[in-house]
Assembly symmetry: C2
Homo-oligomer: 359 residues x 2
């Protein structure tokens, strides 16, 4: 099922027009993805920056300290805009729209980001966690070609410096949209892979997207969530007895749901994942989110797994409780971020109170 495509280090033939790529989500991952695509002259990146980062990114750029690429003093992408609408007007249409934001459908649905910049010849690349993230895009754009990028990368944006500490180990493959030609999607993915792969990163073309995604879910659905709920890193959860009491039972449930999706995962995967960060007390991304008070990706990481299980009558008691707790935690984060304001007195049953979200 797996196919590896070798790619030379050379730049794309300079007589051809470079592919134009819109990149949404210029954080730790996004910056490395952008630099990867641009530094060999293979592509031209248009970055959509947040208002708070716009001035810095467009004039002085970010400093990158990368285990893959060394130190780059001032990386500025080819173009920087404030909105995807502006990007489309000035530089569109795009060959690719690469999304490297968090995937938080309850806060900022990815599909909404496409409305101002998507063209029916554009390929969408989701470099994001989770499962079924392509579905909302197919629903709105039934003929969309969407690619999957699953990365194991250690990279964080601190103010204006990106510290990239663990190599970009990324697997690309096409989500398959059955409304359009399969080979077209495969070709588009190989094309993008060729823009991305180089001798410094560990990019791979892996056609079995489901395998790649479910494999990572075993980690994210169980370890990320548990660490976030109890506010402990992976090492501590393990040392305090959580590997046997929660992680393994949860992982078993994920692997069973994966199996129902045709994905057989090896029995030693849980142990590999629990032990994968031996030597350091590793805080997974969802734990960092909770500690920083930023939103969690619980819907695509665990919610969608529970949904599939429910539909198929697979019992996932551990995941169900973790998921329901995370929903409450996301509300806590929303309230703290001012997404809604509760009445001063707790409403009674007779009040039939419903939370009103502010925009």
């Amino acid at each position: 099922m797996s196919e590896s495509v070798k790619n030379s280090e050379s730049s794309i033939d300079s007589t051809k027009t470079k592919p134009k790529i819109l990149l949404i989500g210029f954080g730790g991952v996004g910056t490395i993805v952008s630099y990867t695509l641009e530094h060999l002259g293979r592509a031209e990146v248009v970055a959509v920056a947040r208002p708070s980062n716009f001035e810095q990114l467009s004039n002085r750029g970010y400093r990158i300290e990368s285990c893959d690429y060394g130190t780059i003093e001032n990386y500025i992408p080819s173009h920087v805009t404030l909105t995807s609408e502006e990007a489309m007007e000035k530089y569109g249409p795009f060959d690719y729209i690469v999304i490297t934001t968090k995937n938080i459908p309850d806060i900022a649905p990815v599909v909404d980001m496409l409305d101002d910049c998507y063209d029916d010849k554009t390929t969408i690349v989701l470099i994001q966690n989770g499962i079924n993230t392509e579905i909302p895009i197919y629903k709105r754009y039934p003929k969309a070609c969407v690619l999957s990028g699953v990365t194991l990368i250690g990279t964080t944006l601190y103010d204006t410096t990106v510290k990239h500490v663990a190599t970009d180990d990324i697997k690309f493959g096409p989500f398959i949209n059955y409304n359009i030609d399969k080979q077209y999607q495969i070709n588009k993915c190989k094309e993008f892979f060729n823009l991305y792969s180089n001798s410094n990163n560990k990019a791979e073309y892996e056609e079995n997207v489901k395998l790649t995604r479910w494999r990572k879910l075993v980690y994210n659905t169980c370890i990320n969530t548990t660490c976030a709920i109890v506010n402990l890193d992976v090492g501590r959860v393990e040392l305090f007895g959580g590997a046997d009491s929660i992680l393994r039972p949860a992982m078993k449930e994920v692997m069973e749901v994966a199996k129902s999706e045709g994905i057989e995962l090896p029995d030693d995967l849980p142990d590999d994942m629990i032990r994968g960060t031996d030597g350091v007390y590793y805080p997974p991304s969802m734990l960092i989110d909770v500690r920083n008070g930023t939103y969690i990706e619980h819907i695509v990481i665990i919610g969608n797994v529970v949904k599939i299980a429910k539909k198929k009558n697979i019992e996932v008691p551990t995941l169900t409780v973790l998921n329901n707790l995370l929903k409450l935690i996301q509300y806590r984060l929303m309230e703290a971020n001012g997404r809604f304001v509760l009445p001063e007195r707790r409403p009674t049953a007779e009040d039939h109170y419903e939370i009103r979200f502010l925009d």
Copy 2:
């Protein structure tokens, strides 16, 4: 099953010697319990104070602002000692040892508190949450007479002031030790009840201790735990959808375990409990513990329920996950309180590392 014993307001006959009571746990609850026992001249209380409170309590006392008793400027119990050993030497043996500490067997087992002050004529009164709290005492003292006090009281010690805001609604009954005469235990309980009950509090004698305790567990096992895990008060858990997704399923499980113990609880109990604090955003005690960084009573509140369920093969999937998460949270609190120090690097599997607790 329930029996109410009426008690007059009068002091005990002053020609008799007053019962001597050792009180361990001079916090919000302990202070009110002590004042209740002493203010009508019915009993003589010896308080074991923490070193940090000793000077204040023995010389200036605590200020009490009580919804039941009004304001008492300086309440000093009859005697104050630093240890139960000192108390025994100077004032023992005791008619009663009343324990109003938190019940945290993983940190400070209640039975250990008895070793220096228990005499085989002493009756032990546990005014504490949880289930099976009498068992460790029977194990060490097979002929012990242990009484149960279950209180719904709102009282907190702030520095040197006790704010008592919700009336002392307390039910006493004898745990039954089958190694000793049942009637003796009933008599002892009625005797203590007569010392305690007055026209200001809502003390009740309730022989069915199991009913009283399991009823309160429906609240504590489910609401206290969930609020503590997600760091939200009861109102917010309910408004954010947690009543249906977690509280009710958990409560159903507790009620099933209660049933297996011969305790039938009414079907409308969950709703009563979820709605019981309408009008205020009430933070249950375990949530306050987590917010303050103090230890949680998870073993007696939920751990022992899960243990019973396991022994009887009753499925409690929700409680199991909540319990396992709380175990991790207690370790987090222990580390924060300096109970152990982890190695700088996360140990590997080969290290076979085990946590060493400091005393």
